[in-house]
Each structure stands twice: as structure tokens, then as C-alpha cells.
Amino acid sequence: MVLTQFDHLWRGSLYLELRGERVTDVIARLAAEGVPLHHVRVGGRRATLVVALGDFWTLYRVCRRSGVRLRILERSGLPFLWRRAWRRPSFLAGVGLFLAILWTAGSMVWTVDVRGADEDVRAQVLQAAQDVGLYPGAWRRRLPGPDVLQAAILARVPALAWAGVKVEGARAEVEVVPKVPDVKPEPVEPRNIVAGKPAVIIRVLATRGEVVVKPGQVVSPGQVLISGSLAEGTKQVPAAGHAFAEVWYTSRVEVKLEVTQQELTGRSVTKKYLDLAGAGVPVWGFAALPYPASVQRQEETDWRVGPFRLPVQLRTVRVYEVNARTWTQSVEAAKQTALRLAAQDVVGRMGADGRVLGQTVLQAQVAHGKLYATVMTRTEEDIGVPGRIPAAPRVAARAGEPQG
């Protein structure tokens, strides 16, 4: 039955009205001849039915023999649709244009994504892909094979260890594996390791050169810790190693005793704006803000067509009510805050491998609602920095020649 209906749609069908005394005879005759009839309604001298377009002339002949008049009430199916379409060239052109645009859009690469690379390498990979013909707007049929693309990208971006290209539909994906950065080469110039800060030596671990300080020794900036001059200066090497020492830092910190903190009450309102070329047009949430104090969080859509960002974006602003609370903290609590602030200050000044050994409040004074504190922080850190080997003294001076 479904096939028959599809057949009618494909080949066309006619909705007919028959009038005459022998309408029933016509129907019986058509059934006897094997003509498929649909939706036959008979009422007295009138009948309506649906017949396939190919069976029309058989029906016409039977009607003529029986003296029954027929009238076409409706034509349906592809043949009639096609004939109507031919009468409207613009409609056909629109259909053709649509199919052409669809085919064109499906034959192009719309996006090129890079996975597994940071921003710098990503830009290089995209540039290399563009150089070999893989870019948004490229014809998929003209793309080289994946092996060729991979080899070309690898050749153009030396920072990559591997590259894979996969094109799925209108989307191309380049997956890359960057090379592990090379190990820094050992310095070849002879040098010393000297103190970078005044400190008390804790331990010195020399991988090359001679240690010239002892644990517990106080050193000043520029003092040699690991010497690169060996065998009384006859041989010079690039000294290397770590010199861990205790360093003292002094920080002056101010802490307010009266603290104001904003707390979210949990109530919020949402406003939506349509950003049109920089101007925000409100589309939702027109009421004035009911909160005396508030904070805002914004989220914006990223609507795109291919690589192009649309000038129209929806911005959602959520306004949260806040309640400001003020209280006075104790001097002890303020001191703890001062120690924490001083530690944060010191962490920024010492090396990455350092650690805080201890802290002491040297001086604390409360004035004008604030705690003014001087905090000493002791740290353990590597204070060694590369230093030049000073030139050897002149041989004549060593020989004890008479001066002046």
C-alpha cells in the first residue's frame, strides 16, 4: 500500500469525478481490467476516485463506452509538480542555486583545528597547513593526501615530533606532538659560583669545582663559594653546584584591624543584552537593580559562522546581592596576618627552590587603626650565581721584586 502511494507520488495521480447513470458499471469494469482505484466514493449518479496517471486513458475509454462524464478535480505527484516548475524558471533557478550552494559548501574545508599544541606552536602549525593548501575555504578535492600534508607540516615546523591530519566532512583536524625541549648544554667557559646574597652557609653541593666555604660561615655578595680554579690556578673549569644558605629578610607590613568583608546573600537577578557592534541592547531583565550593593558576573556567547565571529552576540549579566560586614580583629590575629603577608612577600623575592625556615615579629605598633609590624623571615635557598674567575696575579709581583 505504501509502495502504491509512493508510486502515485512518483508517477502522478488524478482525483476524478465521474457523473452518469452507469458509474457503478465503470468502477466494476475498471476493477475487472485490473486498474487500481483508490478512495472510491459513490453517491447516486456521482462518484469520486483516485487513479494513477498511467491508467487515465483506460478509465477515459471505459467512461466513453459507458456514457459517463469525467472531470479532473485535482492533479498531484511529481509529473505535475515538474510541469508547474517548468512554468516558473526563477523557482527552478532557486532550486538549482540551492543545490549548487549546498554542494559548494560541502566541498570546502570550513574549520582547521589543531590539537596537542600551545598557542605559539598552534600558530606555526596553522601557517604551515595554509602553506600546503589546508585552510578554511580550501577545496577538499584539491587537498593533498594526509601523508603529504603530515610530511609538509613536519618539515615546516621543526618544533614538532609528530603530526597527523584527519579531514572529516568540512572539518580538518591536525593533531601534533611537540618535541621535548633540549637539555641546556653545560657551560664551557671557566667560572666560579659566588654568593648572590648575604647569608650563612648551610651546605654546599658541588658537581664541578672546589668548595671554598664551610657550613656556618657568613658570606657576602660576590664571595666565591665554589671555585673553578683548580691546582693553584693551573687549571680552570666551569664550576657548578648548589650552595644552600640561610638568608634573612626584613618586611614591613601594615594590617588593618577593622576588616570589611562582602558576603553574597544568595539573591540574584539575570539580565540579557544583545551586543550589536559594541552597543548592548537589553532583551531580558528591564527592572532597576533592587540591591544596594552588588557584584556582577558576565558571560558572552561565541556565535560563529565558520571562522568568522558574528557581530551579534548574547551577553548574560548575573547580578548578585552582597552584604558588607565590618568587624575588628584582635592584635594577635593581625600579627598572624602580618606573618602570612610577610611570607608571601619573601616567597616572591627568594628562588624557586627556597623554603621558609621561620619568622619573627621584630616590632609591632598599633596606630590609626592599623598594626604596623616589622617581620624577619629566615629562609633556606640556593644563593649561588655564576661569577667570573679573577685574573691571576702577575708573576713578577709573586717573585718579590722590590717596590717603588
Binding site: 500500500m1 502504491t4 457503478t24 468502477i27 466494476a28 475498471l30 476493477a31 475487472a32 485490473g34 486498474v35 487500481p36 482505484l37 483508490h38 478512495h39 472510491v40 466514493r41 459513490v42 453517491g43 447516486g44 462518484a47 476516485l49
Partner: protein, 98 residues
């Protein structure tokens, strides 16, 4: 000859425990909920109107009475009817209604 053939088909259907319409060329009427009627092995259509349909099934005439009949499909020896079926009547040739 035709009667002999029909008897043989009926005997074969009984022997193999098959439904009679499997081998014998008989008219089969299927009525669903009094609203849809399918008649198979129709020999000819005698009369079609919106209240009565008569079809020739060979050894008898099948008459269906009701209202708002619409023959949704006729093809060869099959006919589909929709409407409100009130009565289905078999009339033997030259005899009374069954």
C-alpha cells in the same frame, strides 16, 4: 471437473491441517471492528454505493450494508472498504440469503 478439483483441494487442506483458504480458491472477508473491510478473491464488482456494496465471489454474492462507505483500494481481486458496516450477507446463486 471444477467441483472435483475443489473437493480435492478441500481434502488436501484437511489432510495437512491447513486453513481452507490456503489451497482452495475461496473468498475471504476480513472485517475489523466494523469499520474496515477487506475482501479477497473477488470475481467482479456488482454494485458500489455509499450504503451498499455487492461483489461477486464466484459461488455466491457478498453484500455489505452500512453507511459512509468508501472503497479505499481496488486492485485485481482485492478490495478495501472503510465505513460503518451494519450487515454482511452471503447470497447463493438462485437461493436465499445465508
Amino acid at each position: 471437473m471444477r467441483a472435483w478439483k475443489r473437493r480435492l483441494q478441500r481434502a488436501a487442506a484437511e489432510m495437512f491441517a491447513l486453513p481452507p483458504d490456503a489451497l482452495a480458491d475461496v473468498c475471504r472477508v476480513t472485517c475489523t471492528d466494523g469499520a474496515e473491510l477487506v475482501v479477497e478473491n473477488v470475481t467482479a464488482i456488482r454494485r458500489v454505493s455509499d450504503t451498499r456494496i455487492e461483489v461477486d465471489c464466484g459461488r455466491f454474492t457478498l453484500a455489505v450494508e452500512g453507511e459512509s462507505f468508501e472503497v479505499t483500494y481496488i486492485s485485481g481481486r482485492e478490495m478495501h472498504v472503510q465505513g460503518q458496516v451494519a450487515a454482511i450477507c452471503y447470497q447463493r446463486r438462485g437461493g436465499a440469503a445465508l
